[in-house]
Amino acid sequence: MSIKFYHDLQRFNKQRDVFVDLANVNKITPDAIALLLSIVIRIGRVQGVQISGNYPNASSATETIRESGFDQYLKSSLPTTGAPRGAIVKRDFLVDAKRAEGYQAQRLIDFAAKDGGGLLRLKAAYGHLLECMANTHEHAGRGSIGSESWWASVFKDPERQCDCFTFIDMGVGVFESIELNLRLKLLNLVGAFRPNILRDLLEGRIPSSTKVAYRGRGLPSIYDSVVKSKTISRLMIITNDVYADVQGSRFVQLPHSLEGLLLYWEVPYGPS
């Protein structure tokens, strides 16, 4: 499933029911599942329409979706699967008066800690989930602070011996936040390239949009976890029209834009 598919799905604004046809999907990754779920649930909520769909013909792709925690949010016609390999949580507007709640991150960490070397290796991931939730609260909203939702997931990959974490918000994205936009205008004037701006942001060379020197620890701290403390690996980021593969030091401009922010990272299993 390509960025264009998600780009088009995010822009769906018709008052009619949606059928998501996954029949020809041969392979799907945990971050793609979480993103798909967050977009279709949003369409259902905002547009007030019914969402339905089918599973991929490829059984391995269907299995991945069914074991990810996806069915918890969209009713399935198939019988319940056995032990799930994934868990998905989202900000609950009814329960959470506040926006960055440790118990939500705890649910994912507890799931990941079950088989695969315990809690200690997951402590950095817990902190990053909290930081991401707080960033969504602070920066992602289109109107007032705290108006934007988020989704987070973990998926156990025993073949690759790691836990795969995804965090998504459907907010304005890094490059459309009001404060950064002013900075972006300046950088655009001197010909700065968006992927380079994201790299500078991750490396802590662009101060916090709050204009308070000691703020803005979120994205740089996640970056440090890959390049310095090495507590997480394979960090990938998509925000607006920029894609970053941090470990591969690959920052590129995308032909299609994704609203909001997607972060994906992995935590290798520890010794059992």
Partner: protein, 111 residues
């Protein structure tokens, strides 16, 4: 450290929470701001009054958002000054070895 010097010891996991939250109270429960205001500032005042060291154990919980650590310890330094905080505070983090140094860095660069 003077071995005869008194030390007051606390654990965030045991005394506050195993699931620390974000920076500010307005962002969520068990925030760094809440920890500093309800616990850390009192412990710090008590330690200074007694001329003791304040030993904080960061282990035992699920982990920390960097902004929690910054708001708690950097925030304390913004009130009392970096030197006073560094002189009194001892931090232990065996489970995340980089964390105590990160907190000290936040204290040094609190402005």
């Amino acid at each position: 450290m003077d071995p005869a010097e008194e030390t007051i010891s606390h654990s965030i996991a045991q005394d506050f929470t195993r699931t620390p939250g974000p920076r500010f109270r307005s962002e969520g429960k068990f925030s760094g701001e809440e920890f500093r205001q309800e616990f850390l500032e009192k412990w710090f005042a008590e330690a200074r009054q007694q001329g003791a060291k304040l030993f904080i154990d960061l282990d035992g919980g699920y982990g920390y958002a960097p902004s929690f650590i910054e708001e708690a310890f950097g925030g304390l330094a913004r009130i009392h000054g970096s030197d006073a905080v560094l002189k009194t505070l001892l931090l232990k983090s065996d489970e995340e070895p980089y964390l105590a140094e990160r907190a000290r860095e936040y204290i040094r660069r609190c402005r």
